[in-house]
């Protein structure tokens, strides 16, 4: 059986590896500059078996989870409040809209100054990268809830608490799961950059350190692992959105 959705992506990757191999053979670049697929594969095996890869991946994942979790824990309720209250919206929305387009990387100098070196500045940068998108998409989702649902809530004498738990939170789940997917991707992008400063571990650090040692094969291993973990994170968020009770939005429309 020819399954397009499985065969074709594999085909793409096979082609890329072939082109890569051809370049290393015939471009005239040295293997130091452009390592061959096989040497990268061997380095991957080496870094995997000596534990370095796991150590750095865990360090990166730890920082991402901390910053991302903090952003979600704070961003969701703040987004809900901004979506429900016009006063809160006018007070804080301009501030968030202003801060949002500032790249988290622009905060690096201040983050290092405020939080020193270690995990904290990196976690802070990841938090910044995730917090604003989380707030903005949550509040937009709340504002787009059908007025009918609030009328039902009023008709059945819902308390404020009930309106939030029985109407607002379930109503925004489809948009929030989408926001979580996008945000985790951004956070994962930022962690690598954040780890190029002020820390001695993580995949970003591993890449920077390998470059200093002129080991481009290690650099490539780092990039490949970052790609794979990014895919997995996205997949996890996607599965989260597929849980039946949370998928009403997609199913009903």
């Amino acid at each position: 059986m020819f399954r397009k959705e499985i065969i074709l992506p594999i085909l793409t990757f096979v082609c890329i590896v072939i082109i890569w191999e051809l370049i290393t053979r015939y471009s005239g670049w040295s293997h130091q500059v452009f390592p061959s697929p096989l040497s990268v594969l061997l380095s991957l095996q080496e870094l995997a078996s000596n534990g370095n890869l796991l150590k750095h991946s865990v360090a990166s994942l730890f920082r991402v989870s901390m910053g991302f979790a903090l952003a979600v824990i704070l961003g969701l309720p703040i987004g809900i409040v901004l979506g429900l209250s016009k006063t809160a919206k006018y007070l804080f929305n301009p501030l968030f809209q202003f801060l949002r387009p500032i790249s988290p990387l622009a905060w690096i100098p201040l983050a290092m100054l405020w939080f020193g070196i270690g995990d904290l500045p990196a976690v802070f940068l990841i938090f910044l990268s995730s917090f604003f998108p989380m707030v903005v998409s949550t509040s937009t989702a709340v504002e787009s809830i059908k007025p009918t649902f609030f009328q039902v809530a009023a008709n059945f004498n819902f308390s404020r608490y009930e309106t939030i738990t029985k109407i607002v939170m379930p109503a925004i789940i489809p948009e929030v799961t989408t926001a979580l997917r996008i945000t985790i991707t951004i956070a994962w992008l930022v962690v690598v950059a954040a780890e190029m400063i002020a820390v001695q571990s993580g995949l970003g650090y591993m890449i920077l350190d390998s470059r200093n040692a002129l080991r481009m094969d290690y650099v490539m291993v780092g990039m490949i692992v970052i790609g794979i973990i990014g895919l997995l994170l996205d997949l996890i968020m996607q599965l989260l959105g597929n849980i039946e009770s949370t998928a009403w939005g997609r199913l009903s429309k």
Binding site: Q151, V152, A154, N155, N157, P170
Partner: protein
Amino acid sequence: MGTIVKIMSHIHIKNLNKSYLDRSPNTANKKDHRISVLENVNLEFEDGEMVCILGPSGCGKSTLLKMIAGFEKPTSGEVLIDGQPIEGPRSDNIFVFQHSGLLPWMTVWENVELGVRHLTDTEKKKSRIKEHINMVELTGFEYHYPHQLSGGMLRRAELARALAVNPNTLIMDEPFSGLDFLTHMKIREEVVNMHELIKKTTLVVTHDIDDALIMGDRIIVMSDRPAQVKLEQKLDCGRPRNLGEDKELKVLRDEIFFMLGVSYAV
């Protein structure tokens, strides 16, 4: 000086006016340009009546119902229920929405439960929910989500949710619109039977004249926007009604068709 006979009116609509700010592009720059939707509406409904409201599309029928439900405030005038002005939405005054008002993230059971969620006796609560789901023939669909139900089942489920509250007033906005012919007939019959059974004041907006003639104890015909009451007719004939045979109903039917701008009744 005769004796004053006090009619027990359940719902009393007094000099009701409603206008909205006009936001259409050519008037947006003029401040305070308002579209009048309801103009000087005066109506009285008796306790337990089935009232059918007819009118051209966009005339303000939904707006009228929303004010009775307390979702919207009148621009002037007032709506009294049992002599008390309406302060806002209340659970003894349940609205059945034109496009489903079921909460899509809750099953049929959970939706029906909304109206009885404060009952402390869980056994009583369960049997009340069961009874109402059964009443609208949705037994077996308790754990289905709204998106898994057909149009007719959605109306039934929402009706069950409304009735489980045991409201004094039931407000239905075009409860049969968008249904196929047979489902329309069937649900209409169920609403009539339900009303015979519980005798609660029931307001039904419809654009189908036959619905009104079959169901109504009182028929209201509204004019084009701004909606005014064009005709108010109490129907004393019993039910079931036969539009083909009842002379009086036939005359009234032609009259309403004419009123709504159609000269040949179909």
